[in-house]
C-alpha cells in the first residue's frame, strides 16, 4: 500500500535520473557490442590497451591518493594538488636534463631514476608543505567553499609561478633507452616502461597502505580523519598529522611526476597538472574519497577505462575521433558517480553523512 503510494509520488528529478541511468547503461552496452562484433581489434590489442591503461591509471592513483588523504583529514578538496604533481615533474626534468648532459644518465640509468624520484618527491613535498602552511592552515575550520576557492587560487598561482620561473615552453624528459624496449608474451606486446611504472606505483601504494594501517603515525592519521576533536582528546597533535598528510601526498605526487616523465616524456610544462589533477580527483571520488584503497582502485580503473573506453564504447556508437574525447571520459564518470553513488566504489556511507 505505502510502497504503491511512494511510487506514485516519485519526483520528476528521480525520473530524469532513472532515464539517465538507463540511457548510460544502454549506450555502454550498445557501443561495446557493436565494437566487439565488428572484430576490429584482436584480443591481444585489448590486452595492450589494458596494460597501457594500468600504467596510466597507476599514475592517476598516486595523485588521487593525495586528494584522498587530504580530503579524509581536512574534508577539503585540495584543488592545487595537480600543481604539486606538476612541480615534481618539472623540477625532476631539470635534474634529468643535467644528468643527461653530464652523461651520468647513460652510465647509471637506475641510479638516475632514483635521484629523479628523490628530487621530485622532495620538490613536491616542499610545495605541498608550503601550500598547507601558507594557504590552508588558517582555513582548517573555514567553510568548504572558502577553502576550495583558496585552493583554486593556489592552483593558478602555482601554475603561473612555475611558468614565470621556468618559462612557458614544454620540455621533454630524456629518454631512457632500456625503458622503451618491449616484452612479448605470446601475441601480446607490452612496453617495459608500462610494467615498470605500474609495478613501482603499486609498490609505493602498498607502502602507503602499510604505513597508514600499521604504524602509529598512520593510526593517528586515521583517528584524525574520523574525528579531529576526539583525536586531540587522545593527545594527538592534529596539526602535525595534517602536515604529515600533506607530506605523504606530496611524495606520492612527486613520484607520479617522475613516472609521467618516464612513461610519457613529452609535454612537461606549467599547466601539465591541471587535467591529471581533475582526473585524479575524479578517480578519488570514484573509489570513495577519503579511502586509500578506493583511491588506488579508482585511479587504476579510470586509467584502464580511459584507455579502453573510447575504442570500445565511443567507436561502437559511431563517434568520430573517439580518442579526442578521452579526457572527457573522466569527467563524465565523475558526474555519473556523484549522481548515482556519491560514496564511490569503496566509500562508506560516512562520506554522505559528513555532508
Amino acid at each position: 500500500m505505502t510502497s504503491l503510494q511512494k511510487s506514485k509520488r516519485v519526483s520528476w528529478v528521480s525520473i530524469i535520473l532513472w532515464v539517465l541511468r538507463v540511457t548510460v547503461i544502454a549506450l555502454v552496452i550498445y557501443g561495446s557490442a557493436v565494437t566487439l562484433s565488428s572484430g576490429k581489434y584482436a584480443p591481444s590489442s585489448w590486452i595492450s590497451l589494458l596494460i597501457a591503461g594500468l600504467a596510466q591509471g597507476s599514475i592517476y592513483a598516486l595523485i588521487a591518493l593525495g586528494y584522498s588523504l587530504v580530503y579524509g583529514i581536512m574534508l577539503m578538496i585540495n584543488f592545487a594538488h595537480g600543481e604539486v604533481y606538476m612541480a615534481g615533474a618539472f623540477v625532476s626534468f631539470f635534474v634529468a636534463d643535467a644528468l643527461e648532459q653530464s652523461g651520468f644518465l647513460q652510465a647509471q640509468p637506475l641510479v638516475t631514476i632514483f635521484i629523479l624520484l628523490l628530487s621530485a618527491m622532495a620538490t613536491s613535498t616542499l610545495v605541498a608543505l608550503i601550500l598547507e602552511r601558507v594557504a590552508y592552515r588558517k582555513l582548517q575550520n573555514a567553510p568548504r567553499m572558502i577553502s576550495l576557492i583558496t585552493a583554486i587560487g593556489a592552483s593558478f598561482f602555482l601554475q603561473y609561478t612555475f611558468r614565470g620561473f621556468f618559462g612557458s615552453g614544454f620540455k621533454a624528459y630524456p629518454e631512457f633507452g632500456a625503458m622503451w624496449g618491449r616484452w612479448t608474451f605470446g601475441s601480446v606486446t607490452v612496453q617495459v616502461v608500462q610494467i615498470v611504472v605500474a609495478m613501482a606505483a603499486i609498490l609505493m601504494m602498498g607502502g602507503l597502505y602499510w604505513f597508514v594501517e600499521k604504524t602509529k603515525t598512520g593510526k593517528s592519521m586515521r583517528a584524525v580523519s574520523e574525528d579531529k576533536e576526539i583525536a586531540s582528546l587522545m593527545g594527538i597533535d592534529v596539526n602535525r598529522v595534517i602536515v604529515i598528510t600533506f607530506m605523504l601526498g606530496g611524495m606520492l605526487a612527486g613520484a607520479a611526476g617522475v613516472f609521467r616523465g618516464l612513461y610519457q616524456p613529452q609535454g612537461i610544462g606549467y599547466n601539465m597538472g591541471f587535467l591529471p589533477g581533475l582526473k585524479a580527483f575524479s578517480a578519488a571520488v570514484l573509489g570513495g574519497i577519503g579511502n586509500i584503497p578506493g583511491a588506488m582502485l579508482g585511479g587504476v580503473f579510470l586509467g584502464i577505462f580511459e584507455s579502453i573506453g573510447p575504442n570500445l564504447i565511443l567507436q561502437g556508437l559511431g563517434i568520430v575521433g573517439a580518442n579526442q574525447l578521452k579526457d572527457a571520459i573522466a569527467i563524465v564518470m565523475l558526474v555519473l558517480v556523484l549522481i548515482f553513488r556519491p560514496q564511490g566504489i569503496l566509500g562508506e556511507k560516512l562520506a554522505e553523512e559528513k555532508a
Binding site: K216, S220, G235
Partner: protein, 242 residues
C-alpha cells in the same frame, strides 16, 4: 567521602562567549580529588561549553582554570591529556572504522610503555568484559551501550587522574545506564576523580558526591548530592516533580 582533599581542577569566575553571545557567566566549579562531581542542567544551558572550556577548545574571555594549582586556560587539548585529564565524549564518538583494540590503543596514544599498555588493556577488559569478545570488531558495528563502554575504556587507557564524562547515560537503555553508572563508581573507587555532565539528574546524583546546577550559563545551585536531591526547587525543576 574525602572532604579534606584539594581540588584537582578548579574553574574560577569563567566567562565564555561564542561571538556576541555569552554562554557562561561567572562559573565557579571545583572538583575535589577522588570524588565524583556532577554538573546538571537542561538543553542549551551551557554544560557542553563548560567542558569545552576546560578542554581548551574554547578560551574563556574571563576567569581562570587551575589544574593541581597551575593555571591551564588556553592550553592545548594535547597538553591537557599529558597532564592526566581524559574525557568520555557525549554520544560516545568512538573511532567507528577502527577495531576495538585499535580504539583502546588510541586511548594510550601518548604512552610509550608497550608492556604497561598491554596490562592496562587487560585491566579495562576486566572492567568491561563485553569488550573482550569484540576486540577485533569494528567500533562502528557495536551497539550504543557497547560503544559507551568502549569510549569509557578508551578514556581510561591514558591512566587519567581526572575523567570528564559528558552525558554518559544519553540514549542508553535503563539497564545499560545502571551498568554504566556502576562502573563509573568502580572507576572512582579505584582512585580516579570524576566530573560528570548529566541530564539524568536522579541517576547522576545517586552516585555523585557533589553537584552543580547550571541554568542559562549560570550556576544556580550547588550543594552535596544528598542535599540537592532533597532540595525542593531542584526536585521541581529538574526531577519533574509537581
Amino acid at each position: 567521602m574525602q572532604t579534606d582533599s584539594h581540588p584537582i581542577l578548579e574553574l574560577r569566575n569563567i566567562d565564555t562567549y561564542y561571538g556576541q553571545i555569552q554562554v557562561l557567566r561567572q562559573v565557579n566549579i571545583s572538583m575535589p580529588a577522588g570524588e565524583i562531581t556532577c554538573l546538571l542542567g537542561g538543553n542549551a544551558s551551557g554544560k557542553s561549553t563548560t567542558l569545552r572550556t576546560i578542554l581548551g577548545m574554547v578560551t574563556p574571555s574571563q576567569g581562570s582554570i587551575h589544574f593541581r594549582g597551575e593555571r591551564i586556560e588556553g592550553i592545548s587539548t594535547t597538553e591537557l591529556v599529558k597532564l592526566g585529564v581524559s574525557m568520555v565524549p557525549e554520544n560516545r564518538r568512538i573511532f567507528g572504522r577502527m577495531t576495538v583494540r585499535e580504539n583502546l590503543e588510541m586511548g594510550a596514544f601518548l604512552r610509550k610503555d608497550r608492556k604497561e599498555i598491554e596490562k592496562d588493556i587487560e585491566r579495562v577488559l576486566n572492567l568491561f568484559p563485553r569488550l573482550r569478545e569484540r576486540l577485533k570488531q569494528l567500533g562502528g558495528t557495536m551497539s550504543g551501550g557497547e560503544q559507551q563502554m568502549l569510549a569509557m575504556a578508551r578514556a581510561l587507557m591514558s591512566r587519567p587522574s581526572l575523567l570528564l564524562m559528558d552525558e554518559p547515560s544519553m540514549g542508553l537503555s535503563p539497564l545499560f545506564v545502571q551498568q554504566i553508572f556502576k562502573i563509573i563508581q568502580e572507576i572512582n573507587e579505584q582512585g580516579t576523580t570524576i566530573f560528570m555532565v548529566e541530564q539524568n539528574a536522579n541517576m547522576a546524583l545517586s552516585i555523585a558526591d557533589y553537584g552543580y546546577v547550571l541554568q542559562t550559563g549560570k550556576i544556580v545551585l550547588n550543594d552535596t548530592a544528598q542535599n540537592l536531591r532533597d532540595n525542593k526547587m531542584m526536585r521541581k525543576a529538574y526531577l519533574g516533580e509537581t
